[in-house]
Every structure is written in C-alpha cells, then in structure tokens.
C-alpha cells in the first residue's frame, strides 16, 4: 500500500477518573471547534439509519458541512425501521429500582463481561437524553391514560425500562431522526447522496481522507474527500443468508475499511434471536422476527415427549415442558437471548420440535388471553399477530405461535476507541457497525439505544477532539492521485465480477455460504466444525471466482452486480468469523464453543485467557489475519458467572 498508516495500536483512550466521572472528564478536557469555525469542516456520514441520521442531523445543526450517503432511495428505508420491540433508557419512571448504574450493570452482565466498561457506562448515562430528544421530536411512544410514558420489560432485566411505540419502535425512532435530517437537507446544511454505495475508503498521509462510492443508478464510480468520515452502515447478520435483517444489509462498508487498515473486532460475536418464525421452505429469502416483547406475555414450551405430533390444544399441561420457566425460574420466559436460543436448540435437537418440519417451539398466549382478555393482548401485540398470520396462515389467538432462533444482530464490528474512532485516524464507526457496547451478547432494546447514543450524544462531542487539529490546514482533495488509484481499483473490481461469465447467480453462492456459516459458526461451534468451515469457505470462494454469473453489464443500474460485490465481502468476513471463533477457546454470550460448557450446558467463560477484545488486522490474505488484543479490565464490577436462574 502506498499510503501507509502507522502500525495499529489499540489505545482505547479511556478518560481518567472514576467510572461515573469519565464522560464528564472527557467533555471537560476535549478540544472544541468554535461555532464559526465548524463550517470550515466537512464530515462524511455513510449510512442514514438511526446512528447515521442522528449523527448527520446533529453535526449539521452544530454547523459542520455534512455529506450523507445511503444506498437506499431514502434515509427512511434503513434497516432500523424494522425494529419492533423498544428502546431502553434508565429513566426509572416506574420507580422500580432502575438507575444508570443498573442499566450499566445489566448491559455488562448481558454482554457476558466482554465489553468495555467505560463505553457501557456512558451509554447508560446518555440513554435518558435519548427519550427526551425523541419525544421533543414527536415520536409517539406508548402512553398511559394519565398521559405519561409507558414501559415494558425486555429480556435480561428485572426492571421495566423499555419505551415503545406499539410494535413499531424502530420505525417511529427512525422517522424521527429522518425528519430531523430532512430538515437539515431542506435548508441546505446536509447534502444527501441516496442510492449511492460506499465501495472503498481512501487514506492519505496516515489519516482517512475520504471515500469512493458507486452511483447505483448509473454505475459511475467517484470520490469524495472530507476532514472526517463516519461509517454508520449497520451490521453483518446477513452473512448467514437467512436472518431477520433486511435484504440489503451487508458488510461492505465496514469490510472495505477493514481492508484499508481498520481493525475488525470480535467478528464471532453474533446474536441468534430466539423468537423468529421457523423456515418453511428451501428457497426462503429471509426470516421474520417476532419481537422479544412477546415473551412478556407468551409462554415458551415444547411437548415433553419427543416426536409428539398431537396438535398443541390436545397436549395436556402435564405433557408440556415450559423449559425456560423450569430452567431459569427468576427470569423465566425473559431469559436473555443467547440463553433462550440455545435452550430452544437443545429442545429441538432432542426431538421435541413442533410444526410440520419439527423445527420450532411454541410461544403460547392462551394464559395471557385468559388473564388479560383478547383486547388487551391485541392492543399490545396486534400487529405482530397479524404479521404472523399473514406469513404462516395460522392465527396465534387460537393456536400457539411457532418460533425458532435466527441470526439477528452482530455485536462484532469495527474496533473503535472511547471516541468511536477506528484504528484509521479520522474514520469513525457508529451504531451496529462498531463493536463497542454489547460485548458477547446484546440485550433486547439496547441497539436502538446505542445507535442513537452514538449519533446524538457521543460523536458530536468526540469528533471535534480530532477535527480541531486540522483547523485552517489544507487537506488533500479528490484531485490527489490516491483517490484516482482507489477509484480505478473499484472499477476493476466491478468489471471483474461482471465478466466472470460462469453459471451461478450471486444468490446461489450467498445461500451456500450462509449454510456453512450457520452450521459451523452459528449457535454452537466446535473446533472440528470451524476447521471444516475454514476449508469449505475458501473452496466455495474459489468456485465463486470462477463460476459466478452476473448479467446486465457494469454500467447503469444492476442489482445483480451490487449483490455480487456484497457477497464477495461476506466470503472474506465469513473466514474471519470462523478464525475468531476458533481462536476464542471459551464460551461467552452468543459465542458457544461446545468444548467449553458446564455440566448443565451453560456457557463456560475463561476470564484468565480470554478477557480481551480480539481485534483483527487485514494482511492481504483473508485466511491469515493478524490478531491484536485489547485487555478488558473491570474497575466497577468484578467478573461474575452469569446466572439467570
């Protein structure tokens, strides 16, 4: 590489002082940019989901020049729109014992002691501001008759701190952030580049100098320079092919940054969500989530007897196993996701699965309907019940839902320091794209919180700390030859993909890749399985490179070509995930290595050897990445064995 960066170091830049004071200390000591000077700085924000839209709008309000990019036709389409259940905040409006400390603690514990304490504490602190901000913007959160905000509970917590807008919380939050961004676009403070995909990142003189994008309407590749670049490009759950993510979610932006020097942290930490509608046929394109909030009132069970094919109504109480209530009495049906998913897998593996393919467990609302009445249940979950019926043809008011775990969220992502900067100076990552706050397992309703915390209340503060040094200094613009070089590489890449001339579509390879990753790097991982994946993925990738067929040419709109580029990046990411999972010889959160479990099948952590973030460096060979470790120290909470019993 001609434009070398310094050797990556993992300095988390955690501020001094006691945990609860760190964020205030940071703000007291950071370098600011005065209001009149802000307009001298250009910031590129890639991604306009919750994290990106909130960051772009806020940075523009502060006075920076902002260019925002999304491959969607409108910011309102980002995958954040699909979040159903809710958003956490330590408001303690219920007076049920919640506090910043408790939210902090629950998040650390939920993440199985694999997240950075300082970041998580800040997240809990700013969570309260998010709700205030969103209400001010007109987000119609659910309310009680007295007019105050309502709350519900979510997995992994014993308090009710989740704010929600029916089953459409992500939609309402994203529309709030989108509208705020739209206002800035309307008055000319943000330039929006829609249907434009980031295809590479450009570094010059040891810092991120800009990006290279492809206009999806014309196929044209072009460059954009800036003082700083923010990637808020979402997660990589679609590496599994089948997931609850929207079809277009992909890893390309983060992966291209990784290939240019940004370390990728904890790629094997992926979340398998316990309550999705089971797969019904082989060419299914995606899986649908049934919000975790349903576990507030639904009871999970399977028949006690393996292979019991009676219809659920005919199975008497005595023949049912409410396994979550039995195994985890204090959290019951609200046990965290990783734990509930594995429990479902165990039930199904032992032959107790239900439904035509015996690939589900029941989520039963009969008790709730008896206790609360059908109307209350309909008010709480009506739209989810309707969606379930549209997809399965079964009515969950009368017969229990069938659910099964599916890939849902990725805790891993670009390594960032306390200021959300990647290992490339001037390149930031926010929202699901970074690895920061959820450790090895994310609690429900905490992704929306983190995305908005990053975009509204963290980045706008931390970015000035970096920008201030560039005041009145010139930075390279897109006439610098490095931009032309990276552009040429991008054009060559799409040309190569478009002209392989094989026989198989990108979707075929994506599906096959997804199967390998699901089988060997999904809910349960073993050394032998991961070794197998690490030999099968390169072989399949080889086939992809020879047998891919993309029709439609390179110029102009070509969805097949877009897909091919994204699938290629999933191949390389898939190898890194398996490498990371193989290297991490312990079980923690969503990463379950079958070799490391307790007698009753729970995850067995190894704090002695693995209390670190694994951050991987690209070496030019996808099979030979270099590992860097950021040790994790806990000042405030000691390591504990996670128990939800």
């Amino acid at each position: 590489m001609s434009m070398t960066l310094d050797r990556p170091t993992l300095d988390s830049k955690t501020p001094e002082g006691p945990l609860a004071d760190k964020w205030d200390n940071f703000k007291a000591n950071e370098k600011l940019v005065n209001p009149a000077n802000k307009r001298k700085f250009k910031v590129i924000v890639v991604g306009t989901g919750l994290a990106g839209a909130s960051a772009a709008a806020t940075l523009a309000e502060l006075g920076y020049q902002v260019d925002a990019f999304t491959f969607h036709d409108s910011p309102r389409r980002a995958h954040s729109i699909a979040a159903q259940g809710g958003i956490n905040a330590a408001k303690n409006y219920r007076g049920d014992g919640d506090s910043v400390h408790r939210l902090f603690y629950d998040t650390i514990k939920g993440g199985d002691f694999r997240s950075r304490e300082s970041n998580v504490h800040r997240l809990a602190q700013v969570s309260v501001n998010i709700i205030d901000q969103m209400v001010a913007q007109g987000v119609p959160f659910a309310r009680e008759y007295g007019g105050m905000l309502d709350n519900r509970s979510f997995g992994g917590a014993q308090v009710s701190r989740t704010f929600y807008a029916r089953g459409q919380t992500g939609q309402q939050l994203l529309l709030g952030a989108y509208q705020q961004l739209a206002r800035q676009i309307g008055i000319g403070n943000v330039r929006l580049f829609n249907r434009t995909e980031l295809v590479d990142v450009v570094n010059i003189d040891g810092r991120c100098a800009g990006i290279v994008v492809r206009d999806l309407m014309t196929g044209e590749v072009s460059s954009h320079s800036a003082h700083a670049v923010v990637l808020a490009t979402g997660g990589y759950g679609n590496v599994f092919f089948l997931s609850t993510n929207a079809m277009a979610c992909n890893v390309t932006a983060a992966w291209r940054a990784h290939r240019r020097g940004a370390l990728f942290a904890n790629p094997c930490y992926t979340q398998i969500h316990p309550t999705c509608i089971p797969q019904s046929d082989d060419f299914q394109s995606k899986l649908t989530l049934m919000s975790e909030s349903l576990r507030n009132d639904g009871r999970v069970w399977v028949p006690k007897m393996a292979g019991d094919t009676r219809s659920p109504q005919d199975i008497p109480e005595s023949d049912r196993d409410y396994y979550l209530e039995r195994l985890y009495p204090s959290f019951g049906n609200l046990a965290p996701r990783d734990i509930s998913s594995r429990a479902a897998k165990r039930a199904i593996d032992s032959g107790q699965g239900v439904g035509p393919k015996q690939n589900g467990v029941y989520l039963d609302f009969a008790d709730a309907i008896g206790r609360l009445g059908r109307n209350v249940v309909a008010e709480r979950y009506g739209n989810l019940f309707d969606m379930y019926e549209r997809i399965t043809g079964e009515n969950p008011y009368d017969t229990p839902m069938r659910i099964y775990p599916a890939s849902h969220y990725t805790m891993g992502g670009l390594w960032v320091d306390y200021e959300l900067m990647t290992t490339i100076p001037g390149l930031y990552a926010a929202g699901e794209a970074n690895f920061s706050d959820h450790g090895a397992n994310r609690l429900g309703a905490s992704a929306l919180m983190q995305g908005l915390a990053d975009g509204y209340f963290v980045l706008p503060y931390t970015i000035s700390n970096y920008l201030s040094q560039w005041l009145n200094k010139s930075i390279p613009d897109t006439s610098h030859p490095e931009f032309a070089r990276v552009e040429a590489e991008a054009r060559d890449r799409y040309h190569r993909l478009a002209s392989i001339g094989g026989t198989r579509s990108p979707d075929y390879f994506h599906r096959e890749l997804g199967k390998i990753i699901w089988d060997y790097c999904g809910m349960e991982r073993t050394e032998a399985g991961l070794d197998k994946a690490l030999s099968e993925i390169p072989a399949l990738y080889e086939e992809f490179s020879k047998d891919l067929r993309v029709t439609g040419g390179e110029d102009g709109l070509n969805q097949t070509l877009e897909k091919a580029g994204r699938v290629e990046d999933f191949f390389e990411l898939g190898m890194l995930m398996c490498r990371d999972a193989l290297e991490r010889e312990e079980s923690c959160g969503g990463h379950f290595r079958a070799e490391h479990q307790t007698d009753d099948g729970e995850a067995l952590r190894d704090d002695e050897n693995f209390a670190h973030v694994s951050a991987w460096e690209w070496t030019g060979d996808a099979t030979q990445p270099t590992l860097h470790k950021e040790p994790l120290a806990y000042e405030e909470v000691g390591f504990q064995t996670r128990s939800y019993k």
């Binding site: 806020t58 309000e61 969607h72 036709d73 409108s74 309102r76 389409r77 980002a78 995958h79 699909a82 409006y93 501001n129 205030d132 901000q133 969103m134 209400v135 001010a136 913007q137 007109g138 119609p140 959160f141 659910a142 309310r143 007019g147 105050m148 905000l149 807008a165 029916r166 309402q172 705020q180 739209a182 206002r183 309307g186 829609n194 929207a246 079809m247 019904s280 046929d281 060419f283 394109s285 995606k286 649908t288 035509p356 309707d386 969606m387 549209r390 997809i391 043809g393 706008p460 198989r504 579509s505 979707d507 075929y508 067929r549 993309v550 029709t551 439609g552 102009g556 969805q559 097949t560």
Partner: protein, 258 residues
Amino acid sequence: MSGTLKNLTLKIWRQSGPNDAGRFDTHVIDEITDEASFLEMLDILNERLVESGEDAVVFDHDCREGICGTCSLMINGQAHGPERATATCQLHMRKFSSGDTIVIEPWRASAFPIVRDLMVDRSAFDRIVESGGFITAATGGAPDANLTPIPKPVSDAAMDAAQCIGCGACVAACPNGAANLFTGAKVTHLNLLPQGQAERYQRVENMVETMDDRFGSCTNHGECEAACPKEISIDVIALMNADYRKAKTINRKSLSRV
C-alpha cells in the same frame, strides 16, 4: 396446510429507463409452494433469468416485513395486490390459484418516474417531508420527556397516522396521482401532538404547497385508503385540509404583523 400452485403466467413490465416505451414480458412458473411469498417467487424467477444469461427483473424491496415501504408493485391492477392491509412483501402465494395469470407493473404516477422495470423514483415524498414534515428540536435542549403529558387518545391518534411507511401505494392507486394521504398522515401525526403546535400552520402550508407542485389533486375518490397497507384513514386528509385553510388566514395575519 401447505400446497403447491402450478402453471402461473406472469406478465411483467420491463422498461430499460425513464424514456423507454416499455413492454410486458411473459414468464411461466411451473410450480411453487403456496408458502412462498410473492417476492420469493420473483427471486426464483430472477435467479433463473440470471443463470440463463438474461437480465434480472429490477424491483425495489428490502425489509420484507411490511415496514420499510420499499416494495411497490401493482399486481393485477391493485397496489400491493389483492390482500387488504398488506404490502407486496407480505403477500403470499396462498392468495393465488393454479393457472392464474398475474400482471405485475410498477407504480404509475407522474410524480414517480420509472427508473427501470418495476422500480420508480419516489424522492418527491422526501421533498414534502423536507419542506415541513418535522418538529424543530435541535439535539440537546429537550426537556424531560414526562414534562408534557399527552392524553392517550391523542397519542394513539398521532401514532395511527405516524404508521405510514411511505410506500406510495396511495399515489399509485389514486386516479389523479395525488399524495394527500401520505402528506395528510404526516401533518396529522405532528399537528396533533403538543410538541408540534409551534410550527403547526407553517408546516401544513409548506407541505401542502410542496405536494401540490409535484402531485395531482385530490378529488376524494378514497382509493388511497383502500390501498394503504397500514390502513391509514382518509380522515387525515380532512384534518390537513382544515389546518391548511386555517393556515392561510393565520399565516397571512402573522405576515402582516411583521
């Protein structure tokens, strides 16, 4: 439970760009399970087309959960197809029968130019929102969220309107290509809430006028409400119209005061 559909004939609109005349292509699907979604059927067709060297049919889609508003197909002349309150991506093949001919077209409205095949450009909706579909509340200064109680019925009514997914089915279904249901939904959401009062009249005036510049006029056909996958009530148009009339007086008065 599940069954198989046989021998479906798809007549799909193909158009290479905004200025191309366009035409229907016919494809036969020999067999498909009724568990498949409508878009999965198109996925299968596209994979077949690509693997046999032809260009895939371009269509917009993303969440496949009926919430992002990206999918947008006219199916047998109905926006989002035959199932009530259901976006295209949530439509399943069990709503069709063996031997059916299914006509698939893009949204047709002058404000939504066709990009390619079944994909249209709906950015005119973004222009409406940019002109006033927001509450100005810069990040940082918001008071505690429970400081302003909002009666549940008010908040529920705002939420009913706020559910709009911005898909454009209302425009596609309207014989005039009007965007009053979309615009009315956003105006109603924000104008009902206490937080939205400060900008209430300026908002409605700006949004309605931006809308009128780009879309056709509403003549109360009501097709929009019937096509809406979120069942947004046409009442939002009445509220918007009432606020617009008031705005015309109030905004004129406040102008004369400056």
